[in-house]
Amino acid sequence: MNKGIDCDVFQDQLDALKAGSLSDEGMAQLRLHSDSCSECAMSLRVHEHLTASTSADLEMAVPDGFADSIWPGVEAELAVRRSQRPDRRWDLRGRAWLLPVMAAAMLALAVASGLVFTELTRVKARERVLAQTVAEQQRWLAELEERTSANTNVLAAGLASRGWARALTRREEMSIAELGELLRRVPARATVLTTAQAETLMGVVSLWAPPGWKQAISEIEVGDGVRAGELVEILESLDVDREMTLRTSRILGLIRG
């Protein structure tokens, strides 16, 4: 008889014995084999040793007081642990989930910082470009304004000259006060007398004008003509009777050269 096969059958019968389904014949075979096979005999002994008591038997066999002593023991041990427990705010034991969460948070923070830094750098670069553009635009605007201003002055001068000249033609005489009032209606920066006209006026006026006028006229800067505002100031600074009349034909003659 092949011993190995018998031993395999023996193991199956051992399982049947454990399950309570082994027949008397099977039990006899099992005993017979164990008498001739020391290893299977030991297996049977192990089986009998381990199945000597059922779980219910063992529970019933728990010595008196053993089960009742567990809770007081647990409670006392927990009290000791609580009294010895250090500050656990930074203790990660039992809070293993904190580690991956903190790592994820740190990573997210690092990524967010990187994104913010990149965006900041990009914005700064854009700001520099925009600042350069704005500076260029401002320079261009200043140039444009300067050119426009010059053109406006020329245009205004023409308009002003024509305008006050037309007004003068409507009257034969005009007092100094009326002349000042007429000039105030003209834009202050508008050139009302060109350089040549101003020089002619100064030359003529110096012949017949009162002494106070001569001084005032000599102080006029005629490098780029006389503006309406300047002429008003000159008229107001003259120490003369405001109602003194001037012949408009003479003034027109001066203007028209």
Partner: protein
């Protein structure tokens, strides 16, 4: 307290749902529920540990350790699963740790000295028979350490804990036939090792 003292892990006197309710309250910090759980399941846990130790005092100490672990780790229990199964898993790990310590002691100090370290003197019945049973159990536990991991795992669950083979196969994710083969080889190797040890004594 909804449990009945001495109900046991295999018993249906305390249904899993009652345990779950207690365990959830315990997890939320209810001390009375924790006490109720301890009083409900302790006797079964001591009996379970006794299968490993054949020593009631050791079984009691292992059970107390298990309840302390449960107190610290109950937040790891998934309330959608059986509390009893989780409790048993915690307890089993504690008992296996005890066996591992015994194996380490045996490797460090083989022979009578190691046996003496595992020995306990308490017990009922015939003192000589009791001593013989204990010595045999100590040898059994010692040679368990010589089995392969899978053989040991299957032997412990099926023969030591006396669980149903199909249930163990399901729990370990093994085919039933694989479990039986592993168990049979494990038993025969264990028997051979025990025989060698007895012959050497």
């Amino acid at each position: 307290m909804c449990g009945v003292r001495g109900s046991g892990i295999g018993s249906k006197m305390v249904v899993d749902n009652d345990l779950r309710v207690l365990a959830i309250a315990c997890r939320d910090g209810d001390r009375r529920s924790y006490e109720a759980l301890v009083n409900s399941e302790t006797r079964a846990l001591i009996a379970f540990a006794y299968r490993y130790t054949r020593d009631w005092e050791l079984a009691r100490d292992l059970t107390q350790d298990t309840w302390l672990k449960v107190y610290e780790r109950i937040h790891r229990w998934d309330p959608t699963k059986s509390f009893r199964a989780w409790l048993l898993a915690v307890h089993r790990n504690g008992c296996l740790d005890h066996l591992r310590r015994a194996w380490v002691r045996y490797e460090a100090t083989p022979g009578d000295e190691a046996m003496e370290g595992l020995r306990s003197v308490s017990g009922d019945g015939n003192p000589e028979e009791e001593l013989e049973r204990r010595e045999f159990h100590e040898r059994l536990v010692t040679v368990l350490g010589e089995l392969s991991e899978s053989q040991r795992q299957v032997f412990v669950r099926v023969d030591l804990e006396q669980n149903d083979q199909q249930e163990v196969a399901d729990a370990l994710g093994m085919k039933y036939t694989t479990l039986r083969t592993t168990l049979h080889f494990g038993r025969r190797r264990l028997a051979a090792l025990l025989r060698s040890m007895e012959e050497a004594l």
